[in-house]
């Protein structure tokens, strides 16, 4: 069958696509919840943004200090992982505590947090095999940041620019 036939079939199929699809669950309560908490969430976002910046500065300082002390191989990586993990874990616990009584926008956010925990564990395992791989450290940092973003977003959606 020819290319022309395919193009025609494709055009027909595109034209037949339904313009509207309805979601399986009611999305309005989550939206309404976010709109109602808009005023409350803004200062919180700024506050967490400030804390994230402070944590970033702290980590830069600690990385510098660790580099200065010229630690070796696996020990160095283990300490780097600890230094990298602790501020995120503390921030995560603070967030979970502060949002404990607040309903979330999605039902499966805890599962997503767990998946990210699993990913972090996998990266830590990989770091034991390749202690000098900076990409793995970067990934670990990204996983932790994703967790923080996720927890904040499902409880107090971050307003983005359209």
């Amino acid at each position: 069958m020819s290319n022309k036939e395919f193009e025609q079939q494709l055009q027909r199929s595109v034209a037949q696509l339904t313009k509207e699809i309805q979601p399986q669950r009611d999305l309005w309560p989550g939206i309404e919840h976010a709109l109602n908490h808009e005023q409350d969430s803004q200062p919180k976002s700024n506050s967490w943004a400030f804390q994230s910046m402070a944590a970033a500065f702290l980590m830069i300082g600690l990385f510098g200090w660790l580099g200065f002390n010229q630690m070796q191989g696996g020990d160095r990586t283990e300490q780097l992982v600890t230094v990298l993990s602790e501020p995120y874990q503390q921030q995560k616990q603070r967030l979970l505590a502060s949002y404990a009584n607040q309903p979330a926008l999605t039902d499966n956010w805890q599962q997503q947090v767990q998946e990210l925990d699993d990913a972090a564990a996998a990266i830590k395992l990989a770091l034991k095999e390749e202690p000098d791989n900076p990409a793995l450290l970067k990934m670990l940092k990204q996983v932790y940041q994703q967790q923080i973003d996720l927890i904040e977003r499902v409880h107090a959606p971050a307003w983005q620019t359209i």
């Binding site: 020819s2 509207e20 699809i21 939206i31 990934m139």
Partner: protein
């Protein structure tokens, strides 16, 4: 024929006028009006999100994000374009940015572009095609470009801007999408 055309134009004008009235009420802070606006456009927004994400749960999250952002950004709608067109553009941008944030590192880590789904055996029937199902099996970037270009009518220049890629990459991804669809629909290129 002309009368029928004029009738359609008048209906469209009336519908757009009704939407503009709702938007004015929303701008004044009327949440009930916003809920009506949401109900009227939910199917359109969710359809685009679902086609772009190929994931029902994710599409639901993104749809919520679209309407949350829309509430704050509705002041930016000046009525220069039709509301549906403007909303489509907002949805595309929110969706792409949401996906980039959500899946960026997963993709780099696990190379989801080459997911198992795309290697599955194709239905192989060129007669009746469930295009939505086939589009869902496309690799992410190829799927998004295909949806935006072939289904939503965006130009490659616009897609390049939305997806932060080169125009050539958009064209290449579209070509890749068509090649895969052609193969799955039982055509040979």
């Amino acid at each position: 024929m002309q009368t029928q055309g004029q009738l359609v134009d008048a209906q469209e004008h009336f519908a757009e006028r009704a939407v503009l009235n709702l938007i004015e009420a929303v701008k004044a802070g009327d949440k009930q009006a916003y809920q009506m606006l949401y109900q009227q456009h939910l199917g359109q927004v969710y359809a685009l999100c679902y086609r772009l994400t190929a994931d029902r749960a994710l599409a639901e999250d993104v749809t919520q994000e679209v309407f949350i952002q829309l509430w704050r950004k509705l002041d930016n709608f000046r009525g220069e374009a039709k509301f549906r067109t403007w909303l489509h553009s907002v949805t595309s941008n929110v969706c792409v940015s949401y996906l980039r944030k959500q899946r960026g590192w997963w993709q780099r880590m696990f190379n989801l572009e080459n997911s198992e789904a795309m290697h599955e055996v194709a239905p192989g029937s060129a007669g009746e095609v469930d295009l939505d199902s086939l589009v869902q099996r496309l690799p992410e970037r190829a799927r998004m470009v295909f949806v935006l270009h072939a289904i939503e009518g965006y130009r490659h220049e616009e897609i390049a801007q939305i997806m932060d890629m080169a125009v050539g990459s958009s064209k290449a991804q579209f070509h890749r999408a068509k090649q895969l669809l052609s193969e799955w629909m039982g055509y040979e290129q």
